[in-house]
Amino acid sequence: MKWGSGECGEAEERRMEGEGEGQERLNQAVQQQLNLKQVKSRAESLSKAISRILEDFDVYALTNTTPKWQDILGQYSMVNLELFNIVDDMKKVSKAFIVHPKNVNAENASILPVMLSSKLLPEMETDDTSKRDQLLQGMQNLPIATQIDKLKARLDMIAAACEGAEKVLADTRKAYCFGTRQGPAIAPTLDKGQAAKIHEQENLLRAAVNAGDALRIPGDQRQITTTPPMHLADALPVNEAAQSFPDGSNLFMKNTPMPSNMGGQNSLLQTSGAQLLGRSAASPSAATSTTTFDNTTASPIPYANSPRSSTHMMNTPSPQQQTPQQQQQQPSVQQQQQRQKLMQLPQQQQQQLLAQQQQYRQSAMQGLGQLHGQHQMQFSQPLGHQQFQGRQLPSGHVQHGIGQSQLNQGNQMTRLSQFSGPANSALFSAAQTTPNTQMIPNISGTLSSQSLLPRVQFGLSGNNPQRSHASQMLSDQMFNMGGGNPGGMMPIQQQQQHGSQAFGSMASNAQNLQSGMVTLQNTQQNHPNFSQQRQQNPQ
């Protein structure tokens, strides 16, 4: 409407000016006050400003950038102000003019009747009267002057209330430093000391969250002394005591200097550890093994030879379910899980197994030499357990590599039952199914310093008519441990070394290991890979 009135007024004035000479001239004063030229220039500049703003918006829309709202608001307020001023000036002089439309088109058609009328529209008139009645409700009967006074008083009250509100707003703005439209006042700064303190704290916090600094408890304090909270009560494994790094960073530092090709050795060692867990027996040297085995043969497990013994093995509960029994000798970090597995074995066997494992471990350590054996073994045991547990091992025995002559089937079964941990339970079950075919040649995967003879030793020489040939034995299914490395393993079997097939699986890494293993090349191919059946024995 504002624009409309301005437009029409302008049109009218121009027309009048055009005909000014011929007709009555505008009053000079009015004309001066109107100052048409100035109004025109102002209107033109205003329209330019508005179009500029609109162009900016278009650019924003095209480039998909976010507009700077403060600038835009500033420009808008300027435009708004200017328009208001123009219209205000026009309004002052518009009383002198009436609307005389020259050009009626679609835009004007609806407005013109209202603008030309001197009387209100009927609806507007009723509205007006009703509002007036509402206003003068109590004062109809009073004289006019009183009415006027009362209305004035009301106006004054309203004005005072508005002023009070404005004051409160201004005060609040000042108190909260909102600042004027030009932007915030000088931002309050922290003093240097406080800023530095906060900076320090911030670094501490960020480091704690992202890297865990300042959160690590030293090893000696890592024992769980208090009862763990509810959510951890059953989440923590039993005998968890030494699950944490003694000092995590140090451990990594120790291990990282090791060359990367040691990785194979690591895995090898792991597997040796695994073997210790899972195998029936590991006897590092024939001599010692002889003695140990002699000991074991003297005390067979009850029902050692019966089919039930293996099922007994199989049905043993997992270590997690067992209650911890008294620990055997040589307690060491990471031995606890292993101990749990041993628990089901009778005492003597446990001791023997542990002893053998220690022996084996020591020999393995010597063989590798460079590694921090303790760590390796410790780590490997859980892993080994993991590997064996639940594996679907096809039939196979783990043979104690004692000597060819020392084994016969009966003894072998005995020993197998004796020494296999729960990890090998599946192995035993498979073994049970084919009692005649279970000879596993000793495969020792360790890199011991002892010379490795490229010969496969079979425990049952000649006893098993089906498996008399080395190649046949090697290709026996039991070597398929599953999850195997097709690369060929560490086959190796030495008389001195004992390894179960499990070793073979890890052995793929061992190929790049030391020169001592060179002799294994032959047997590697022959060695039954976990995932392949060995076809022939080039031996």
């Binding site: 209330a161 800023a195 969250v209 865990g212 304090q221 769980i224 002394t225 909270p229 923590l236 990282t256």
Partner: protein
Amino acid sequence: MECVVQGIIETQHVEALEILLQGLCGVQRERLMIHEICLKSGPHLGTVASEVRLLCDLEQSEPSWTVRHIGGAMRGAGADQVSVLVRSMVESKTSKNALRLFYALGYKLDHELLKVGFSFNFYRGAQITVTVASINKMLKLHATDEAVPVTPGIQLVEVTAPATSETYTEVASAMSSFCEYLAPLLHLSKPGVSTGVVPTAAAAAASLMSDGGGTTL
């Protein structure tokens, strides 16, 4: 993958931040109490040490476990242009046996912390999660009841949003435009880049916390 930024705020302004977030996000806040256990693998598990985080949500009556692996951050020219950190992250719900499983695998406890605070989860160009929490450490192993704040006067604000390698630019821009709204109270930056506190924080917090103070007409 996820986009993540972090910032700090003084504890005294946390309530104001909550009000601001409530207004911006339009969702209810969720309380947060998470016991985060960081596990590192031993040297036998591969040549590179890996790190896994187990998060136990203690807020519910039944604690729920999540396992999370945070990978390396995106690098390169593209990474420098975005104002958020884009990194690979894999997360999964898991049973409570996760801890035992990882111990059995050979992972070891590296550190643990307790996050107590609140979080907002909403959609604004991307599925954004804002977490405001105080980080607490436990002096005794797993003693979550006796946790003390690492920095008593400062809490951590973390804004994360999941992303993929194709969408991370949009997610990053959605996140940064959201973070602009928080500018009066705190600045957010890539983890590892320190920001300091914002000088207008006090005033902004006061204005958010004020109840008007006007006289009745």
